[in-house]
């Protein structure tokens, strides 16, 4: 909880946008903070539930490993895949420099 009583602060929104690699400006931070605050305000309804003895449920059915025989199967056409990429070179995806990250 922030001091204003809103479930999410502008600083939280700016932080999650950064974590999610979404560039947003100050006006958008304010806009999204208000909207997300309203939505998260609704989430308080589950606070009244006693969930201490309940196991979390991540999937409708219990997850099991699905294995197949280790045999060669057809794969996607590399040229076709690379043709759909924004940039490719020497049969690889080409990206801008990755060093000098701002964190």
């Amino acid at each position: 909880m922030t001091q204003s009583g809103s479930p999410i602060s502008a600083a939280d929104v700016a932080k999650v946008a950064r974590l999610a690699r979404l560039d947003i400006d100050d006006a958008q931070v304010e806009h999204f903070t208000e909207q997300l605050g309203k939505v998260m305000g609704h989430f308080g309804d589950i606070d009244a539930l006693d969930l201490s003895a309940v196991e979390p449920m991540t999937q409708p059915y219990p997850l099991v490993n699905v294995m197949r025989e280790d045999v060669e199967l057809p794969t996607l056409d590399t040229d076709e895949v690379l043709a759909a990429a924004p940039a490719a070179e020497e049969r690889r995806f080409r990206v801008p420099p990755i060093i000098g990250l701002d964190g």
Binding site: A20, L22, I46, L49, L76, P86
Partner: protein, 478 residues
């Protein structure tokens, strides 16, 4: 001049018997699209040339006496988050505009093998996030019954295409009601099969523990027919249930005599009074058809919305990380990779997608995980347990599909919480992984269609189609 039948089963039998050509069926539907889709915008892309060529190939097979599939010559519209080899698949997002997938979704291959002819890709709320098909980067879809109103969402284009007669059947995807709610608002049948019943290989993922593909149709029987064709195990989807597709068409006319059908006495409020009147009429009709109506409670149902709007965005924030400007779609160039990610995603995603990514990132972030995501997963368990308890006493449950009939375009677009409340009756089944369908059952406010929703336990499709068929047969009668 022969008449083109209006149902998929009618078209398939007319085409395979040679009384109507697949080409004439396709041409008739393309003509309707050309006439009206400018106003409705059900389609992001109409694949007229490919559809005509496919129809000609089927007609050639028939002329040569070669066998054709159970959907020979049936036009079908595909939600634009289903991958189609070499044909644009956008998810109604700028970030995928112009992308041509290098493969077909399993459902697309199965429909084609059955003789169905894709006529195009239908509009949706961007990445299937929305309840009105207004969150599309390519403009909203209108409700064919009243162009000032929304068709529902997120599969609004697929619902509108069937309601407008652009195709007798279509496919959508349903994560929290995205097939059933638009079906209700457009007055058509919509089915979300059991989680794992239909392969998601080639469905662009939104929330992987909830997503399911299913059909829209004008009749319950057609919906059963399409479900039969697309269901069944697929090794390409590790969540696919290792069972063959069930027989469902026969169930539609089996009747409900002797069935126990649940009436939820603690249903969360908020439905329009006309919708509740239709619900009561549905129970009257089912009782008259020989079913026993059993009162049940689902005390956790009102918490489903909160659980869903934590779980789905959390999964979405992870799934949509793949849209990074590297392998497909949009790239906004920048000095380094990290800056490129942020700029590309800012330019490529619309506001609702950004909201859900941020919400999910927040719910999963250090310090908040237990309070939000962890707690939501426990609520999910309670909801599933409530259903399990109810299904000890009933074979199926009937509740409304949507609390409201089709609302005016623009009414909720700036109020995410109001939009999310549209899903209050559809979300619980996704959390539990159960099948559910919406069947038109008369009209409510403004003479607009009301959909009744039939819920059944996991793999309970036969019971669901029996009840759906009985509601359809009652014809929405008072």
């Amino acid at each position: 001049m022969t008449t083109v039948p209006s149902t998929a089963s009618g078209i398939a039998s007319a085409v395979s018997s040679g009384s109507v050509s697949a080409r004439s069926v396709v041409d008739a539907h393309l003509e309707r699209i050309a006439t009206r889709d400018g106003d409705i915008h059900a389609f992001n892309l109409v694949t007229a040339d490919e559809a005509r060529a496919h129809a000609d190939a089927i007609d050639a097979d028939i002329a040569a006496g070669r066998p054709v599939g159970p959907l020979a010559g049936v036009p079908i519209a595909l939600k634009d988050n289903l991958c189609t080899h070499g044909i644009d698949t956008t998810c109604s997002s700028k970030i995928l505009e112009g992308w041509k997938p290098p493969y077909d979704a399993t459902v697309v291959s199965r429909l084609r093998a059955a003789g169905a002819i894709s006529v195009g890709k239908t509009n949706l709320d961007e990445f299937a996030m929305g309840s009105s098909t207004e969150n599309s980067a390519f403009g909203p879809t209108k409700n064919p019954l009243d162009l000032s109103r929304v068709p529902g969402g997120s599969s609004g284009g697929s619902a509108a295409a069937v309601a407008a007669g652009f195709a007798p059947v279509s496919l959508g995807s349903d994560t929290g009601g995205s097939i059933r709610q638009p079906a209700a608002l457009c007055g058509v049948v919509g089915v979300k099969p059991t989680y794992g019943m239909v392969s998601r290989y080639g469905l662009v993922a939104y929330a992987s523990s909830l997503d399911q593909i299913g059909p829209f149709a004008t009749t319950v029987s057609d919906a059963a027919l399409i479900t039969e064709v697309i269901a069944g195990h697929d090794p390409m989807d590790s969540t696919s249930i290792p069972q063959p597709a069930p027989s469902l068409v026969g169930a539609v006319t089996q009747g409900v005599a002797g069935m126990r059908i649940g009436r939820v006495t603690d249903l969360p409020g908020g439905a329009e009074p006309e919708v509740m009147e239709r619900l009561n009429a549905a129970f009257d009709a089912l009782a008259a058809a020989g079913a026993t109506i059993v009162d049940i409670t689902l005390p956790s149902l009102s918490y489903a919305l909160t659980a869903y709007y934590l779980i789905a965005p959390a999964e979405a924030s992870s799934n949509l990380a793949r849209f990074d400007g590297v392998r497909y779609g949009l790239r906004v160039n920048a000095a380094d990779t990290n800056a490129m990610y942020g700029a590309t995603r800012a330019a490529g995603f619309g506001d609702e997608v950004k909201r859900r990514i941020m919400l999910g990132t927040y719910a999963l972030s250090a310090g908040y995980y237990d309070a939000y995501y962890g707690k939501a997963l426990k609520v999910r368990r309670i909801i599933a347990q409530d259903f399990d308890a109810a299904y000890k006493n009933v074979d199926a449950i009937v509740i409304p599909t949507s609390p409201l009939v089709a609302f005016k375009a623009g009414d909720k677009v700036d109020d995410p919480m109001a939009m999310y409340l549209c899903d209050i009756y559809t979300i619980p089944t996704n959390l539990a992984g159960h099948p559910a369908m919406s069947v038109p059952f008369g009209t409510g406010a403004h003479n607009l269609p009301v959909g009744m929703q039939v819920l059944a336990p996991a793999l309970g499709e036969v019971a669901m189609f029996r009840v759906g068929g009985a509601l359809e047969a009652a014809g929405g009668a008072q």
